[in-house]
Chain length 194, copies 2
């Protein structure tokens, strides 16, 4: 609640998203008021409505742009399914830690989306899951992986990797590279590639 006048559209928009993301992740969508977001940004509550039609749209935009960014950032590598799986493991851990707030939001606040908005996010998530499942199926076909059920293995691996966000703390016992190594070992074993 700093300024009392003046237009700064270029900076206010991103600030709203940043602070909303952080607050939603830390306290939950329903527990955060528009006034609280405005206060963090340094504007009055009314000003937020120049950037978003309502609170729901703000949440949806955060989740959708995150999924779009995730899908845009993911690039499969050609060749050996095991190398591709290792790449996915490291990519997923790194991006999950880079966007821990949004990742948490994506699991937590799906239920606060309208049905239509929910369907959109679920579809994007399905695309991402399909990328991993394709790798596993290729690995099975090539005889490099022993997997009972590719769909369940996909869900299991994503849950396992995303779980890093539950305990990781910057400056902790292990750095990211080492964590990636360890989880790649777990994933490789899980798909029977040892």
């Amino acid at each position: 609640m700093a300024r009392t006048q003046g237009s700064r559209a270029d900076v206010t928009g991103p600030l709203i998203r940043t602070h909303a993301r952080r607050l939603f992740a830390r306290q939950g969508y329903a527990a955060v008021s528009m006034r609280q977001i405005a206060s963090a940004v340094g504007v009055q509550a009314g000003a937020l409505y120049a950037y978003t039609p309502d609170k729901q749209a703000l949440l949806f935009d955060l989740l959708e742009s995150h999924m779009q960014e995730l899908l845009g950032a993911w690039t499969d590598v050609p060749g050996d399914p095991l190398a591709r799986l290792e790449h996915f493991v490291r990519f997923h851990i790194d991006t999950s830690l880079d966007h821990a707030d949004t990742v948490f939001l994506s699991y937590m606040e799906l239920r606060n989306l309208t049905p239509k908005n929910y369907a959109r996010i679920a579809a994007l998530r399905g695309e991402y899951e399909a990328a991993l499942e394709a790798i596993l199926r290729d690995g099975m076909a090539a005889g490099l992986m022993r997997i009972d059920d590719a769909r369940l293995a996909t869900m299991a691996l994503i849950a396992m990797l995303t779980g890093v966000t539950n305990w990781y703390r910057e400056g902790g016992r292990l750095d990211r590279r080492r964590i990636g190594d360890i989880y790649w070992g777990l994933a490789r074993g899980a798909v029977g590639a040892d």
Copy 2:
């Protein structure tokens, strides 16, 4: 919002817990009002305060009694670490699915606890994690498992197993027994026991 008078202490208490648990899990703690819980139970909002000092205590009671029940229900089996791990895998999946609402709550609403209440739940969770970690360490010591980091493997396995609640639907493609088989295969591979 059915009755208009009459005392039914024996049934109202459990009903409050049951409906609060379901509503908190489906909509989030902050999004659920005391009126909403009261309405589901069939009493007026004021009546809830004969059972709980406030909303926060209601959430804490649900989480704490769940953790107590989980710890009470868990019994290690003697002998082979691999058999003990299989037992843990099936136990964790089964109880997670039996208490899907509370499991979800336990991950999502920890941040809505006061620091003291949070510390209590975290301690109970730590006890449970320690049970799995002990199995993994015994397996490593016995040369039956190849694990880089027992602590991370513990967190990874629990996240993987708990993730079942994210996609499981009653009457779906796979029954619980089969799901347990598949996840046991994944877990066994992850700890290098193939």
